[in-house]
């Protein structure tokens, strides 16, 4: 369960459905009890009206119900479902005109007990209200009688069933409505998180510098701190680069002065001049290499996507200018459209060094090819210079990197390129070009 939304939806669903079902069951119980009570009350009222119609019979020894004093019409209609029966201790002594069936006499009725019960009889449900009464005969002797009312419960159950159906229908509707509502609330509530995602992407793409949407108070501390972090990182990067530039300037200018001094003819012996040049060169190369290395940004996460083709065009245009008088032809063919995520200055460093090397060592032709191969971009830089022997290809890099052993005239370009290529996990291979010189093959991963 990876998304907050699905987690919250699942929890709400379980809680909501559980709560609603319990509520509906409780409600159902309460209503059932209330309806039964109403049925009992109705039968009781009828019981009293029938009791009001009880009188001594003709003999005066027993009692009967006088039909003329009964007002409940259903008691006169056969099969109306409402019946009244009067028993003495042994047998039935009166029944309402509606009554045609044969119900059992209720058992174990305690004298003067009023008992309401629900029974099954002949596959139908009935309510029964039984009352045991004492009634005096002419001799003022009390005899025990039982008055029993039967009422068919089919209507009641049908009504209760209708109520239950309505109740469950509304339950389902309510749950559905609440779930939709919760979904909307969640969308609304989680919107700031989605917005953060979008802004992070915009910042990655350098379309934005900071989080500037209006975030709710709970998230504001987060975005504010991220903004501070971003700002600090940008400043730090700039300060760092400036510091490196200053360092380069302040180290290299004295080196340039020293070199100028050593070139004054007649002041030094030839051997001294050579040693001074060599040491000056070494200092310069170490300074350059370490500065370049320190300036390499590396990584890919926050870099702006750049088009390799654009930088190739720019670099080749600049180098054509520089090598114009050499009569060199630099052929550039690129059909790349994809971008890659790299610091522009790092990419420029790779292209500048490699193409410059090709121009330097090439005699007449330099060929640059950039193309897409499956999911990577391939860049080939070839020249028609003297090239390298196959066994030299393998240690071309280590030679450049081990600065303490470099000879005068060996540039630090390749070593710098190698560091950048490592930092970005770009593949760099060397081969012999069919032009005769060196062929460098770079493979960049697409974004």
């Amino acid at each position: 369960m990876k998304s907050i939304k699905s987690r919250m939806m699942l929890t709400s669903l379980v809680v909501l459905v559980g709560f609603m079902i319990l509520t509906v069951i409780a409600l159902e119980r309460a209503v059932e009890k209330r309806m039964l009570q109403a049925e009992e009350d109705k039968l009781q009222a009828l019981m009293y009206s029938v009791l009001a119609a009880v009188d001594r019979d003709a003999t005066g020894l027993s009692i009967t119900v006088s039909d003329t004093r009964l007002f409940e019409g259903a008691l006169f209609n056969p099969d109306s479902g409402l019946y009244a029966v009067l028993y003495d201790v042994k047998e039935e002594i009166w029944r309402s005109l509606s009554y045609e069936g044969e119900f059992d006499k209720p058992d174990d009725l305690v004298p003067e007990e009023l008992r309401f019960s629900q029974l099954e009889f002949e596959n139908r449900s009935w309510f029964q209200l039984a009352f045991s009464i004492r009634w005096p005969n002419v001799h003022d002797k009390l005899s025990l009688y039982e008055l029993v009312l039967w009422k068919n419960a089919d209507d009641y159950f049908a009504q209760f069933e209708r109520f239950r159906q309505t109740l469950w229908l509304w339950l389902v509707i309510t749950i559905a409505f609440l779930l939709v509502l919760m979904w909307l609330v969640m969308l609304w509530g989680l919107r700031p998180l989605r917005l953060i995602g979008e802004e992070v992407q915009a910042i990655e793409n350098h379309q934005k510098q900071r989080f500037d949407s209006n975030y709710p108070t709970e998230i504001k501390p987060l975005t504010q701190n991220l903004n501070l972090l971003l700002q600090r990182e940008q400043h730090q990067m700039q300060r760092y680069r400036n510091a490196l530039d200053d360092l380069a300037h302040s180290l290299k200018t004295p080196l340039a002065v020293l070199r100028g001094l050593t070139e004054k003819t007649g002041e030094w012996s030839e051997d001294d001049t050579h040693t001074l040049h060599e040491q000056n060169n070494r200092m310069n190369q170490i300074v350059s290499y370490q500065l370049q290395k320190a300036a390499t940004v590396g990584g890919e996460s926050m870099a702006k996507p750049i088009k390799l083709t654009d930088l190739l065009d720019k670099t080749v245009k600049a180098l054509r200018k520089v090598y114009k008088s050499k009569g060199l032809s630099i052929e550039l063919k690129s059909d790349l459209t994809a971008s890659l995520r790299m610091d522009e200055s790092d990419l420029m460093e790779i292209l500048g060094n490699l193409i410059d090397n090709a121009c330097k060592y090439g005699k007449l032709n330099v060929r640059i090819n950039a193309f897409q191969q499956q999911d990577k971009m391939v860049l080939r830089i070839e020249d028609d210079g003297a090239g390298l022997k196959p066994e030299q290809l393998n240690n071309i890099l280590t030679r450049g990197i081990r600065l303490d052993q470099t000879q005068e005239g060996q540039g630090i370009g390749l070593a710098v390129v190698n560091d950048i290529v490592d930092a970005y996990d770009i593949s760099m291979k060397f081969a012999i070009s069919d032009l005769g010189g060196l062929k460098v093959i770079l493979e960049f991963k697409n974004i």
Partner: protein, 228 residues
Amino acid sequence: MRAIVIEDDQDINQQIVSRLKQEGFAVDSADNGVDGLYLMQEFPCDVAIVDLGLPEMSGMDVIKKIRADGSDLPILILTARGRWQDKVEGLDAGADDYLVKPFHQEELMARIRVLIRRAAGWSDSTLQCGPVVLDPSTQRVTLSEQEIELTAYEYKVIEYLMVHAGEVVSKSVLTEHLYDDEGDRDSNVIEVFIRRLRQKLDPDDSLQPIETLRGRGYRFTLEPAKVN
């Protein structure tokens, strides 16, 4: 030839200026971008050497400004920042070549000569017009493979005329490209140099390499062997 050096480090500035003078250039120099731009705008010159990290106005801005003014003066940038982004941006802004500090004075001179020749349409390292050949790196001039002895100023005059072979060069332009300071300038001296050059290059008056256009200046008449 006249060069402008814009470099804020006094030692390097001094080294470049003295080396250029040694090579026969007339040199103006500035130690900040604003003064440098003023020199480039106000005085005719053949090449400019501009450091990128300058006070008051960066070298990049100086180059952009001078290019925006429509100048096609050859410019070489000096930079301590070895990063390619800076080099490419400098070249993109209008510089013609770059050199990373520290550099060999020899290399700087060689690049400057290439830039000057290239700007005048020459592609070879030596200038050749008919039987006259001038090698800027050795500052030697030969006529039909016989070396001609020239004084420093005579050399400066013929170098300028040959670089601009076929073009009319006025006396004042020639003066400006030869002398460091205003005080030295005397246009009569130019006439003396021209007369001496004619005697040395054309003793029997058959080549007539330098033509005088009355009221307009001089023209080197021999066909230059330019490639383009």
